[in-house]
């Protein structure tokens, strides 16, 4: 049985499977390098130069420089790997997650305090929930 295709029919969601892992291999491995303080310092000093030391595609490098997490995800990134970039920037997981929704930081925080995003209409692509915007991958 291949991975149930229903995994790919959830709105606003990219399931990180072997195919995504292959596509994003070096993007994610680059992120792992940021778990060392000296690498974080090098990256901050010259992002482009540091990125050029890794086998990322140009699109992946640009997405990192733009801090465009949705784009990084579409290019094979996984949030647990990508979070090391956020950590390097001093961002919290809430700031990172919120940045992918198109909401302001404040609005996202408010939504969470009020109980989070509703599941209604967000189970399957084509329903009418608030996570149904077209995916960019």
């Amino acid at each position: 049985m291949a991975l149930d295709k229903a995994f790919h029919e959830i709105p606003g969601t990219i399931v990180f499977d072997a195919e995504q892992a292959r596509k994003g291999y070096w993007l994610n491995q680059f992120c792992m390098s940021l778990m060392k303080a000296e690498n974080r310092a090098k990256f901050k000093a010259d992002e482009r130069a540091y990125l050029d030391g890794w086998k990322l595609t140009e699109a992946q490098k640009q997405a990192v420089i733009d801090r465009d997490l949705n784009r990084m995800m579409a290019l094979g990134g996984n949030i647990y790997f990508l979070s090391k970039i956020g950590a390097t920037d001093g961002k919290s997981f809430q700031q990172m997650a919120g940045s992918m929704t198109g909401m302001s930081e404040e609005a996202y925080r408010e939504m969470m305090i009020k109980g989070g995003r509703s599941i209604e209409g967000n189970r399957r692509i084509g329903e009418d929930g608030d996570a149904q915007r077209p995916r960019k991958d």
Binding site: T13, A18, A87
Partner: protein, 285 residues
């Protein structure tokens, strides 16, 4: 012989660790979260476990894409808190129990679970945040800990049914260990959360609470739920909840013994992006 005296379930949200480390536990936002763990402090004084088998997942910390074990048991002597990009958490080093860990590994491998044995690893928030929530600020963790990591990052993750069966095998292994040890099994991760894309921030309170109900009363039925349901209903990172079934599988009632007692149950939204769930099941004495 070693005894399993309780199982414990909790989210392992990194922001809780940060709030804890930065002394923000009394802020309005965090107070209700930490209040959910007040019960644990007294309870632990009575329970005094010798060893906790702590099921968690590594979040792209010790395991990169270079090597991804489905199940990894840590048979080493100690495990340092990892630097996940913010610097290492200022919490004690985790001391393992290599003999019991090797016994569990040997037993369950011979029951057809294909474990990876790991001796050198740093442990991330998935392991240290539950310890902080349950034990509070301490100079040394008051018991030994056997970390047990499950891949829920790269799909396919193991199924709930596989995790539940593994828990049963771990339970048998612990109960067959010749030394008299008081052992707890913890399942961590979840509850509903999604950390990616336009659906980030998803919380499914009704589903989470039904999960807690079934985990208590119908774990075998719950274990048959396919992984797609976790991702669809509880968010892409809600899949972590399959790990709770490992701890649940280790309890006596699953092997025909008496039902455990619900010692504590807690649910709160939000902590950062996530629903906080916490449950303690005590074995009948």
């Amino acid at each position: 012989m070693a005894r399993i005296t309780a199982s414990l379930y909790t989210s392992h949200i990194p922001a809780i660790g940060a709030a804890f480390d930065l002394g923000r536990t009394h802020e309005d936002y965090w107070k209700p979260v930490f209040a959910g763990y007040d019960f644990d402090k007294d309870w632990m004084k009575r329970q005094k476990p010798d060893v906790v088998v702590l099921v968690y997942n590594d979040h792209a910390t010790a395991f990169s894409l270079a090597m991804i074990p489905t199940f990894a048991i840590m048979t080493g002597p100690e495990f340092a808190p990892a630097d996940e990009g913010y610097g290492a958490r200022p919490v004690p080093t985790v001391v393992g129990h290599p003999e019991l860990a090797a016994h569990i590994a040997s037993e369950v491998i011979q029951q057809d679970f294909d474990l990876t044995m790991v001796n050198e690893i740093d442990v991330d928030h998935g392991l240290t945040v539950p310890l902080s929530c349950v034990f509070g600020k301490v100079d040394a963790w008051p018991c030994k800990v056997i970390p047990f990591a499950v891949n829920v990052v790269v799909h396919p993750a193991p199924s709930g049914a596989r995790c539940f069966a593994l828990g049963q095998a771990i339970g048998r292994a612990i109960r067959s260990y010749p030394e008299d040890l008081n052992v707890q099994v913890w399942g961590t991760g979840g509850m509903s959360h999604q950390l990616q894309g336009p659906r980030a921030g998803l919380i499914n309170r009704e589903w989470d609470n039904a999960f807690l109900d079934r985990l208590i009363d119908d774990p075998a039925g719950l274990a048959r739920m396919p992984n797609i349901d976790y991702v669809r209903e509880a968010g892409s990172e809600g899949i972590e909840l399959v790990m709770w079934l490992i701890a649940r599988g280790a309890m006596a009632d699953v092997a025909g013994g008496p039902k455990p007692k619900v010692a504590h149950r807690f649910y709160h939204v939000p902590a950062s992006n996530t629903a906080v769930g916490h449950l303690i099941l005590e074995e009948a004495v």
